[in-house]
Subunit: 251 residues, 6 copies
């Protein structure tokens, strides 16, 4: 059995639930999915500042998880704190943006990332660059219609987002489209036919790539820049995180 943990660094349980539906729809038989929602932070991370806060909280959350999952999925588009999580823990940690982009690479050419608000674009572009995937990215674009509650976006603007994505993909010769941001989780399925190009759902991609990584079982690095750092004392951090940094718990 493979145990995958979906870590939502947002505090909104409804976002976790939405993502778990995407996750469950593709998980292989024998995969056990569980989820944790951030106990503190912001309802929905949408810029660099909140990503920094959310990333640090994700560290605390993972430090509390026991027993260790076979792989963890960092379930916020933009992958807040991903490389730090990857360095600090012994099991693989995969970001949903990362998973979507890597899955898109397998379809050839370049991918287009589409959001519902340009507030996210700067941070998303930083994310593409941090993954060294700018050479595969045809653009990061937003439709930017006014919207009310986040959980209404997909319903209210779904058709317009699909039409927008179609036009942008055509203009930029993108081979594939990724809808970024949890409120768009699942839109991929509905968009597929009407876009003329394949669409990758980030959460679904992350589940399948996490399964893949869990099966490939690449050892945790013991040398180099992704090895787990040596134990270190700290002040004023959450007990579990402080323990983890000190490497006191049994590994």
């Amino acid at each position: 059995m493979t145990r995958l943990l979906v870590l939502n660094p947002n505090t909104t349980q409804a976002v976790t639930d939405l993502m778990m539906r995407s996750a469950a729809s593709v998980a292989a038989p024998g995969v056990e999915l569980s989820a944790v929602t951030a106990p503190r932070g912001v309802p929905y991370i949408s810029n660099r500042c909140e990503a920094l806060i959310g990333g640090a909280i994700a560290l605390e959350m993972l430090a509390e998880v026991a027993p260790a999952p076979d792989a963890a999925i960092l379930a916020a588009f933009g992958d807040p704190g991903l490389f730090a999580l990857r360095e600090a823990f012994d099991f693989p940690v995969i970001g949903v943006s990362e998973a979507a982009m890597l899955a898109a690479c397998m379809l050839g050419g370049k991918f287009l990332i589409v959001s519902f608000t340009s507030a996210m674009l700067g941070w998303y572009r930083d994310c593409v660059a941090a993954h060294g995937l700018e050479a595969r990215c045809a653009g990061v674009v937003a439709l930017d219609l006014p919207f009310g509650a986040l959980d209404m976006v997909q319903g209210a603007q779904g058709d317009q987002l699909i039409a927008f994505a179609r036009a942008e993909a055509q203009a930029r010769d993108a081979a594939c489209v990724i809808f970024g941001g949890a409120p768009l989780a699942g839109l991929a399925v509905r968009a597929r036919e009407r876009l003329g190009r394949p669409v990758i759902d980030p959460v679904a991609a992350a589940v399948k790539l996490a399964e893949a990584l869990a099966a490939l079982r690449p050892m945790k690095a013991t040398a180099g820049s992704f090895a787990r750092p040596p134990g270190k004392s700290s002040i004023g951090l959450s007990p579990a995180l402080a323990n983890h940094l000190r490497r006191d718990h049994v590994e």
Copy 2:
């Protein structure tokens, strides 16, 4: 049930068998693996010229496959003809180099590609560049000891290759190592502990990523540069390939 086809564009059945062992060791329950070995071409592709020949033969081979698999794996490091295959067929086609590199990306930082002969390096470097992954590649290196039969390389030089990979990964700060070339299929498992860094087996990675892609079911592009080209007549090609180009067969 997911049906994956392992397509070996080399004519050597033993190479197919070796790769199928790697493939079988990681395939999920419910995945049916089958393989085809090139009926013509060279025993083992090892340069750009042979990659061109092998890529064109891979086209012929895929055109003969019926019924269509859920995904095909192009099982020669260097991914000969991959983008053409991806464009021409309605099911996903994944290269073993591509799969190894994308899986390596999920481990962070840069990957190192290690071969047993520098004859392959120019072609392998072309492959990394064609995938737009140079920003994630710490180097493409070869140990270059004299060797006899290809199927003896891993046995005779395995330890030296591991030591070489270890030193190069350290010097180049590679987070992960990929052994390239079918004669090294399976060396990943043995190398893992001694390298201090995770090792990705290309064939195993391709099987897991092909499973992932089959499950994600991204529609074949009907627009853009990876859509299947319109029907075209030809002269002197294999009957199956000519049919495929003409788009005469039922799809």
Copy 3:
């Protein structure tokens, strides 16, 4: 006397004839031009799949050429199989895209590639990238009017293509324009005055650069990744190509 071979990997003799007119218009005195047209393949290569087929056929065609020319010109925009041909033969092989891009470089700034159909753009962009010339390319664009027979494109759409190229070159600050694709061979001459920017004809550029290379007589590499590979057996290839791979013929 310098003997240049124009190798057309398309099966259409009329395309060969059109290109030979461009070639003949610039060839220096004392240069003997000859041409071969693909005996099999597709009438006109226009995507990655057909480029793979055509590239492999080009290998067969060059393997049959005797005596060796002073240089060969691969006369299909997109340079199908170019690096493999260059590796495999002892005389220089130059692609028409490559020649056009390198000649354009001598005019400063960036070049713009203009096609008559967006079907070709993905493959053309791959070609620019494969030559490592993305830093010199202002764009690869197509006008995309409906057209009938290929040999009518230049006549029917010539003026519109020139106006389109003029506007795109202005918008992208391209210092120079290249019309790509054999059906546009010769359009350069007519476009020159009206574009306000120099125009390079790919076939003409290839003839002059092939003459240059023939005169410079850079030895064929005997080491490194463009040296000719050692002899190898094969199965089911054309007799001439099999011989060439085996290195049985006198060199």
Copy 4:
């Protein structure tokens, strides 16, 4: 009068003191320097995980500062959380790595970053990339001798670090050297003569560039991806940070 705040995201007061000495040695007349040391976190940030923690703590620290300084200096090489801080606050925030690299750019060619431990290299390389300055970086290297207490490194290994930097700068044709990491603050002055190349002290550079920015008074962005995000509620964050996110305090 210009008020500059030196923000040390490490918990070690001695590191703050060391950096303040560098800062004071170059501050212009009329510049008032103050410092804050992290009240919680780790003694000395030395990897991605600790940088994430320290970056989030830096946010808390800046949210508590009143009145706002004319500019803040994020005083940890690697610039933990810099872009988030820059986005979130109305005054300029400058990183010491950033300042050192930009000052080095004014000396021409490429800079070399030298550390005393390779544990830091992965994180430092991420930092260079995040600033888009890879084209100006000749390398990120470490001497990696064993060391005891951090505050002994400069005394014990100073001469060896200088000799190492000299050799690496020569081999990589670096026009300028940056010693990275607070324990090396001030080494620049001593190294200058013996390196044959200019040396930039990160903290000193940050003070001068912060002065420059304070004088240039570029307005805080009100649009685009570095504008301050709209107010947002949160759970469980420090009161000052929660207030800042909510934008409740007077601005």
Copy 5:
């Protein structure tokens, strides 16, 4: 006291005066600004050819300066001859384009360069590339309205330039704007509020960064590619420049 020399390689005294006003408005107390205007050359450098002429004249001008300033500012957007000046003299030389771009980097994201005539764009783009800052540049654009005398441009087109810059910055997600070209010196101040993004004045930035560099006192390189070349004889150059090249004068 810090002595900064503003070197105007144009022959127009009014341009020098305009730039000195920008300079004086930000210079720190205790900074002594002086200026030299080119005694020969063109009234206003606006292309690569004139930049080459002006760069060589700047060399002559600097060779005549005595005593040496603490730093020199090359006061023509495009930085004509900057790297040669930097190599040849013992005091720091900073270009106004360079200073504007580096100051802009401290504001995060990418900068946009705006000119009043597209005649300058090719040369300006070369400048961005020569500084290795293409990764930080969102574009180099011009409004291109007809204009009469250069000193009327800012008055006549100021509002339109600001509106144009605003729209382009929005479309390209530039975090910051730089108005390039001496006739726009000082426009930054007026534009600030209306752009919604910070604006950097090149001359002002150069003064502050020159002050910073003068205070940091990085030694002149004595090794590597920015060391001053050994003495060399010459024919027909200005006496001061010939002396400087011969290294005859006291240093």
Copy 6:
């Protein structure tokens, strides 16, 4: 008949003579070669400062040439002032570095540039970057043995330079070697056999590519950034150059 002008921006006639021998050895029948040697400047340009001086003198020299040649060759490795010359004159101007690099591109893979002194490396690297050809360059390296008169270098160190180039090309997988610097003109012929890789002589390549360009007759740009600038007055320039800038002479 094609008239090519070899413009030597160095003042040493012997260097002109050496380069003319290389040029004459490859010029086609019917090509008339003439040469001009700089009447002022330095004996041999070897750094950025001298390149700036030499570039400006090359402008003066070309302005005096009448009648206009079919193409001019800027005969100093490093291509001092090339883009300015190209912009300012109506006939094509080709640099010897540029020609060597573009000819090398036709041989596949990457080229290695070898010099006899590291003093030149910084300037040469700037040149590769200015041509946008870093993606094709395997390195710029120097042997750096002490040498006496420049015209003795090739004789005294030829064998050592060839051995050095061989080792470096092997280590960096360069497909081709370019010896840079006039004192090495002609070394290519002697090195060919012993290097195992093709060698390009810069002057010879420039002659052949200039012939090519003259035959292709791409019109001078009348729009865009390489169009000749409009007439402009100047002060204190050479009469011929002032005339040329004013566009007074008949064109």
